[in-house]
Amino acid sequence: MSDPDAPVFPLPVADTLVACHDCDMLYRKRPLREGEKARCGRCGALLYTRKPNSIERSLTLALAALILFVLANAYPLLNFQFQGRVQQSSVLSGVRELYAQGMWALAVVVFVASILAPLLKILALLYVLLPLHFGRPPWRMAPVFRWIETLHPWAMTEVYLLGVLVAFVKLSDIATIVPGVALYSFAALIVAMAATDAALEPEAIWERLETRR
């Protein structure tokens, strides 16, 4: 990864200094109490935090998110009843229908934002957190953990749920709409994913990687 001639060399500064990601201000790191946050004095950005039992708590919540994700995708989201006919819709059937109607680019966007990115994010978190819980970093942990941050803005579970609710209200005028199991699972999934993010302390995980080298 780093060849000996590279102009970058590891220095003790890495452990003692921290730079603000929004304004580049340099700070000396200080030990925090559990639950405390360090903020940038110039622009107010969050610099680093310390969270209690970060790995165990985020691991538990990520496992819950995975179960809820399976439920949210295996069951119908909404049931549409009109003159004795019932039409079911799941997350995947929406993607499939867009694709079938020739809107493949739109199908890809919906697929990535509602299924692929959230699933990969949960799986990547489990891949990193589960071995760490048992005391050893997994194979190729750095690129996998880097991916989680890249995926984060594209996992739009909570936005998707609002889209479902708008569709629900729009159609309930003209037909009977019955919410399916997946709708409730989806709502719980959003809570589980947000709680996972809140419990996670990326700095601590990166530091574990450094001490291993």
């Binding site: 060399f9 200094l17 304004c23 993607v95 229908e97 867009l98 803005p153 609002l162 889209g163 569709a167």
Partner: protein, 214 residues
């Protein structure tokens, strides 16, 4: 600390890794060469590469796509062989006509207000950085943070269409077809997200240092 000369990581020749946030010392590099973070392997830069050029290109592309996104139908309700196209604004109007005020407000905010404000604030941030403005850097940083966080919420309409298309399939009685406007609209949202990601908020603060630097 001397307030006239803020100690930034760049000034100390330290590059902050985009991915794992570790600081690494940067020597001047020959153009075109790359160095990688010794901890996580991500490419290291003092500032996001070509930040202004990339953000401008993506923002302009989003402006252009914003026109078809609002003029072309996002979906067509076909009922008894008769099609009724819906644009983003006519969808909001239909919600108001149906008395669904809170929902109309939500969709109006997510699909009309957010994309427009996002494009304007990106343009403003880019112009202010290029003119090396020293005006209220902290507020401009907050504006950037909001711009970056709020963009994804515009996707509500796109997701709604994917649900409606799959649900309303009643043959000759009623079907819903997605329209080209939805594609343009999704592209606006995705492209402005990339534009916000390629903008580097640290450029706002660089103007406070020596104006002849960099």
């Amino acid at each position: 600390m001397n307030p006239a000369l803020p100690v930034t990581a760049a000034r100390a020749a330290l590059a902050r890794c985009h991915a794992c946030h570790r600081l690494s010392r940067m020597k001047p590099l020959p153009p075109g060469s790359h160095v990688h973070c010794p901890r996580c392997g991500a490419a290291l830069h003092l500032r996001k590469p070509d930040s202004l050029a990339r953000a401008w290109a993506l923002t302009l592309a989003a402006y252009i796509l914003y026109i078809p996104a609002n003029t072309l139908p996002i979906m067509t309700v076909v009922s008894m062989g008769h099609g009724e196209p819906d644009t983003i604004l006519s969808g909001v109007r239909a919600l108001i006509a149906g008395g669904l005020w809170p929902l109309a407000l939500l969709v109006f905010f997510a699909s009309v207000v957010v994309p427009v404000l996002k494009l304007f604030s990106l343009t403003y941030l880019l112009v202010s950085v290029q003119r090396k403005s020293r005006w209220r850097p902290r507020d401009r940083t907050v504006l950037y943070r909001i711009t970056e966080a709020v963009g994804r919420w515009s996707m509500i309409d796109v997701f709604m269409i994917s649900i409606l298309v799959a649900l309303v399939k009643l043959g000759s009685i009623a079907t819903i077809e997605p329209g080209a406007g939805a594609m343009a609209f999704a592209a606006v949202v995705v492209i402005t997200m990339f534009a916000a990601m390629s903008f580097d908020p640290r450029l706002i603060w660089d103007a406070l240092e020596n104006p002849d630097e960099r």
